[in-house]
Symmetry: C2
Subunit: 198 residues, 2 copies
Amino acid sequence: MKTKLKEGSIRLFEEKGFSATSVQDIVEAAGVTKGTFYYYFQSKEQLLMDIHSDYIGDLLMRQEAIRQSEASSREKITSIIGLLIVDIEQHGPSGRVFFREMRHLKQANAEAVKRKREQFRMNIEELLRDGVASGEFRRQIQPDMAAFAILGVTNWSYQWFNPAGSIPAEKLAEIFSDMLLNGIMSEGGKEHVGISNH
Amino acid sequence: MKTKLKEGSIRLFEEKGFSATSVQDIVEAAGVTKGTFYYYFQSKEQLLMDIHSDYIGDLLMRQEAIRQSEASSREKITSIIGLLIVDIEQHGPSGRVFFREMRHLKQANAEAVKRKREQFRMNIEELLRDGVASGEFRRQIQPDMAAFAILGVTNWSYQWFNPAGSIPAEKLAEIFSDMLLNGIMSEGGKEHVGISNH
DNA sequence: CCTCACATACTAACTAGTTGGTATGTTCAG
DNA sequence: CTGAACATACCAACTAGTTAGTATGTGAGG
């Protein structure tokens, strides 16, 4: 029943938002009453924290496996992009709740989640730094900003990508990896562009 | 007073979310009473629609100016990235409300906003198609997915970028333009990567 | 110059319903 | 007969929205 309450609430939070979803809505969707809800969860906020913890904990674990694998920086970055995009298929609703409803966590919980979120980002940053140091990536790349760019492309996909549509998640991951790694410009145009220093 | 109510509510919606912000909160922040609120706005939802219309309307207008300018596809794409990033400085809160609270608009309003949002995206897609056709951009680029990538990088910036921090908005726009146009990989590594067809 | 009709920009008090949370049961398996 | 897993009934606080009324301005006819 705990799982049913949690999974049902994810769908409701995604559709209506955390505040607009009442505990009554959640227990009705699960076919129980409020007594049951407060037997399993201390508060509505505690349930939201559970959802956040599950989501970011799982991603960090899977990112760690990629980090510790034997692969080039490029391959690791590509794997992380794949991890995030393919994850939409299974955890799209959780992700959307994660991105949108964090401000409804109380401060202590919000900080714990924020730290894990930042750890995920810093791990990408580190991979990028390694790749720049080894010459695999361009010298001009700023690892911190590049990490934000990668997370932007992938996280934004949660807002629009439909894994049941015409493009499979694996294909989208390839498209985005290619675009981020190789850029949009054709070879002829490249030398004209770059970061200016004025 | 109408402006004060609107601008105050944007800040509250950003901090607490639309549903968690009561009309009472809004009028207290503006120093008036609820009667005044309902004198200027038909409903709480109508106020949210106003915020959405203002935001997307302004962006579409400024995008149109870029589209109609005489410039290369690359320059136009760079300008649009700049438009969105520099906009964070002035309309960060509006943008965050726009991205997060659209599901609280009633259907008719949501559809109107969605159409304008899609128009903005399709305009980028068109610029990308032009660039691919003219050879300015790589043949392999898929304009629709590339548009989502660009919007991902820029829109995500609303979540983390602080224009008052050490990196000015104009600089960030340059960094992101460079990264999206030229990619992350160094020249030596490029030929190994690409979209496979298996 | 005055005043009457009307408009603008509000306020205080209210309604009808919903909220998260709690205190107190009841049921049934081990 | 115990305790885990639920249900019932309730509350104080809060919700969006409404109502009737009012202070201040404004413009035109006499």
